[in-house]
């Protein structure tokens, strides 16, 4: 894996020392490949302190000793990690974007309209440089003021490293260590940017941290890192991603999300993922290999994951909860839709460590076309986790005879007071239901959308209001062309 450090990188690294850390070397994209110099370069470009560079290097060195895991029920073409460019300057990237909506792929616009996305956002999402003229910027500033009044920190992780190094240092890598897994190590070595949220003691975040982020979401890079810390008695609802399809040239996305929930705090994390899934023949598409984990550290803390996964050629992620604090609660609600040649191996892990901890898992898989959709979940009750309670339900819906739906739940119970339940069913949409809708003048395609939405309602209801509506439409759009 270790390649000869190329000249270009060498020069740049030298340069770094010549001009110091703050020099703004204006390079669009650094050359492809990964080695220690690249890691140093990324760190230097971002003007990071020594400890963070050390963290990156440790992660990189550990990554070298690891092999890509193969246990997932996925067919992943070989990934050449030396053929990826690990740093792209986000500010220059936008210049390549289309100048007006006329230049944007009409197919994309059609989907935008179906989803009912406002015009400004359409422009932002198609990669236009609009951030200076958009209304939302002023909105953003207003939001920022409100947040600041409450003492909430919400900024990019690079900014947080500069402004709040103590907080970042304390929590970065505390939930997902760099040794955790192959992609976590890779991300820790080369992470580009992401978000940092800190909610101080006793503060209830007055808004969903979504509206802001949704516009900000574009161009955070392929190795995103999110860190959310909710201090005692606080509450925050955070929404990541976006319902609009993202055209992205980065094939591999290996992000990390870490959440720390302290005493009596509550975090609600919602994801709507609709990356480019590849074309109908299965060519192209994003690989979404994400490590998401929250630690319910404090007593009576609560963490809730909600995800709607419709995009990506391959989705491989398990948003997990470690229930360390006594009486803590975790929830996982998921809808995963795969169509055409998409593959998904997703689920959750619930690790019960504290006493009287509770977890709920509701997973709904929908497979159509020639796709493969797997649920994989772990419920682990540690020896001292008295009175742990878990309920898991995973349902699969099959549309078409060439797709697959799989369930791989694991239950490791080390305590006799635990009550753990798991249920799974697999079914297809019955012809009676379709016929009933047809009789009433609803086309088969609409009927499927209707039934699928009913099926996923339990999960969609958990999404923040505005997104629930969009997610519903998204489900129908994702399944277009899968019937009839």
């Amino acid at each position: 894996m270790q390649l000869e450090p190329n000249k270009y990188v060498k020069e740049l690294t030298k340069e770094k020392y010549k001009y110091g850390f703050t020099t703004d070397v204006h390079t669009d994209i650094i050359e492809k490949g990964l080695n220690e110099d690249v890691v140093r370069l990324i760190s230097a470009k971002k003007g990071e302190p020594e400890w963070l560079l050390e963290f990156r290097l440790k992660a990189y060195r550990h990554w070298l000793t690891m092999e890509m895991p193969t246990w997932a029920h996925l067919n992943i073409p070989e990934i050449d990690y030396q053929a990826i460019s690990y740093y792209a300057d986000p500010t220059t990237k936008k210049k390549d974007g289309p100048k007006s909506l006329d230049e944007v792929d009409p197919e994309l616009l059609k989907t935008f309209n179906k989803l009912g996305i406002p015009l400004e956002e359409q422009m932002a999402l198609s990669g236009m440089a609009v951030d200076a003229v958009m209304d939302s910027v002023s909105v953003k500033t207003t939001f920022k003021e409100t947040l600041m009044e409450k003492g909430i920190i919400f900024c990019s992780i690079s900014e947080a490293v500069r402004e709040h190094p103590d907080l970042v240092k304390k929590y970065l890598g505390s939930v997902v260590g760099y040794r955790d897994n192959f992609f976590a190590a890779l991300n820790s070595a080369v992470f580009s940017d992401g978000s940092f949220v800190y909610i101080p003691k006793g503060v209830r975040c007055p808004m969903e941290l979504s509206t802001y982020f949704r516009i900000n979401a574009a161009n955070t890079g392929q190795f995103e890192r999110t860190l959310i810390v909710a201090d005692d008695d606080s509450y925050v609802s955070y929404l990541e991603g976006c319902t609009a399809p993202m055209r992205d040239e980065n094939q591999l996305h290996a992000a990390i999300v870490e959440i720390v929930v302290m005493d009596r705090a509550e975090v609600k994390y919602s994801t709507v993922q609709n990356w480019y899934p590849g074309d109908a023949e299965g060519k192209g598409g994003v690989y979404n290999f994400v490590t998401k984990r929250g630690n319910c550290k404090g007593v009576d803390s609560k963490l809730s994951w909600t995800q709607v996964e419709t995009g990506s050629a391959i989705t491989w992620k398990y948003p997990s909860c470690i229930l360390t604090g006594d009486n803590s609660t975790a929830e996982f609600y998921s809808v995963a839709v795969t169509n055409n040649y998409q593959q998904a191996d997703t689920g959750t892990k619930m690790i019960h460590i504290g006493k009287n901890t509770r977890s709920t898992i509701v997973s709904k898989g929908i497979s159509a076309g020639k796709s493969q959709n797997s649920y994989r979940g772990l419920v682990r009750v540690a020896e001292r986790a008295e009175n742990a309670r878990n309920y898991s339900q995973c349902d699969s819906l099959l549309l078409g005879s060439q797709c697959g739906a799989h369930t791989f739940p694991y239950m490791d119970i080390h305590n006799e007071t635990a009550v753990v339940e798991h249920e799974a069913t697999t079914s297809k949409i019955s012809e009676d239901q379709i016929f009933y809708c047809n009789q009433r003048g609803i086309s088969t395609e609409d009927a499927v959308g209707l039934i699928v939405n009913g099926y996923a309602k339990e999960v969609l209801n958990k999404l923040p209001m505005e997104f629930a509506v969009e997610a519903q439409k998204l489900l129908s759009v994702s399944l277009e062309g899968s019937v009839g």
Partner: protein, 447 residues
């Protein structure tokens, strides 16, 4: 490869002796199996299939092997008298891995039925046995199966011809008997022709208080419309290690019931793989385990729905006490085109102490859309309300617990299609829960 090396050396040195005391059909695949074993070794816990049982640990100690086939002086009829009451069975014995040929029951089996030593059958009729031996158990896929194929010298061969119905159940008692720590590699081949019907009860007993390790590979071929019941009852002791591999191939409209019950054991690993190869085939796969002290029970099942219109039902129940460890991994595969599959899988477990551990993985892999598949798993305790209710009515807590646990495993016993065996098991299970070893009067084995 430390544990493997001693067996690789042993086989290289004594291959001729192993072959000399066996039949040509059994000898033929040995070299191939040896190559597979050298390549695979014993499965490690890194393999998903063996996540909960560390195989090489059990093979590491020294065991005696009776490669030279010395006769072991024992009269099973003398020591084993606890024939299940009210249940007349055709009773056969296997001592370690040798079929006991003296004093066989006569006139019990219908004409054409064969029940006897595998080695003998393979010598008498090699062409016939060759069609079946090693056809389901693939030594290239599993290190222990390869190991068994390398060393197995004898076992049992059962054949039921077309449309023959054996009314009377056949009982096979496997007796482990040795004066030193001992290893047994046994092989069983069962052939049910089209329309044949039979019931087989296999009981495992360990007679001596030494460490035993047994590997057993059973291959079952079930023809069209055939009905076959296989009950396996393990009542050994805490220093017994058992690796059992059961491979079943079912043709159209066949009906098979497999029930594996572990009442007393040391470490048990049962691997069951069923292939539903013909339309309309039905498999009922059940199992239960009652484990205490440091006993370990690991059941691994795999049901392959290859064609449409098949049914599979799975039910496994565990009661774990003390530091017992239970594991269950069940996978149901519904292949593309296997429409109208009906599959159900249930695993329920009770952990009675805080040191007991349970691992469960009910898995579904489905590639067809018109199917009904479900699985469920629970781990929990006895219902406190029910216990309270019974105590209110003057039943002691201890008794109430027993009653509930008994009712819990009873569901598995209810699947048994032999009334006398059901009754007997009710008794055995009750005794087991009461902590009395299953002593049946006058039986030397259980003393």
């Amino acid at each position: 490869m430390k544990a493997e090396q001693q067996y690789i050396d042993l086989f290289t040195q004594y291959e001729a002796m192993v072959c000399q005391h066996s039949a040509e059909v059994l000898n033929a695949p040995r070299a191939q199996a040896f190559a597979h074993f050298e390549q695979l070794g014993f499965p490690t816990r890194k393999l998903e299939k063996y996540k909960y049982t560390d195989v090489s640990k059990f093979f590491a100690p020294d065991y005696g092997l009776n490669l030279n086939r010395l006769a072991i002086p024992v009269n099973p009829y003398e020591v084993f008298k606890c024939d299940i009451p009210n249940m007349s069975t055709s009773l056969y014995f296997v001592v370690n891995d040798a079929f006991y040929t003296k004093e066989q029951p006569t006139g019990h089996l219908p004409e054409g039925v064969i029940f006897g030593s595998l080695k003998e059958m393979a010598e008498k009729n090699p062409e016939f046995v060759k069609n079946y031996y090693g056809k389901l158990a693939d030594s290239s896929k599993d290190g222990v199966v390869a190991f068994n194929t390398m060393f197995a010298q004898d076992g049992v061969f059962m054949y039921v011809p077309k449309n023959v119905v054996i009314e009377k159940p056949i009982q096979l008692v496997n007796i482990l008997r040795a004066d030193v720590n001992f290893m047994v590699n046994r092989r069983i081949v069962i052939v049910m022709e089209d329309g044949a019907q039979a019931k087989l009860l296999v009981c495992d007993h360990a007679m001596d208080n030494v460490n035993f390790l047994s590997t057993q590979v059973i291959e079952v071929f079930v023809g069209e419309n055939a009905v076959f019941d296989l009950y396996e009852l393990e009542e050994t002791h805490n220093s017994t290690v058992r690796f059992n591999y059961l491979f079943v191939n079912q043709e159209a409209n066949s009906n098979v019931l497999l029930n594996g019950m572990t009442l007393h054991n040391g470490t048990t690993r049962n691997t069951t793989e069923v292939t539903l190869n013909g339309r309309g085939a039905e498999i009922n796969l059940c199992g239960m385990a009652i484990a205490d002290r440091e006993e370990q029970v690991d059941n691994h099942t795999f049901i392959d729905h290859k064609v449409s219109d098949c049914t599979s039902n799975e039910l496994f129940k565990y009661v774990l006490d003390d530091q017992a460890v239970g594991a269950f991994a069940g996978k149901v595969l519904v292949r593309e085109g296997a429409q109208h599959t009906n599959s159900q899988q249930t695993n329920r477990n009770i952990c009675a102490t805080r040191d007991a551990r349970m691992y469960t993985q009910p898995q579904l892999e489905i590639y067809a859309d018109d199917v009904k598949c479900s699985h469920g798993a629970t781990v929990g305790q006895l219902d406190e309300n029910a216990l309270f209710y019974m105590q209110q009515r003057g039943i002691s807590l201890k008794e109430a617990r027993l009653l509930l646990m008994f009712a819990f495993v009873n569901e598995v016993i209810d699947h048994i299609r032999m009334d006398a065996l059901k009754e007997r098991l009710h008794l055995l299970v009750e005794k087991r829960f009461r902590g009395e070893l299953n002593k049946c009067q006058g039986c030397a084995i259980c003393k």
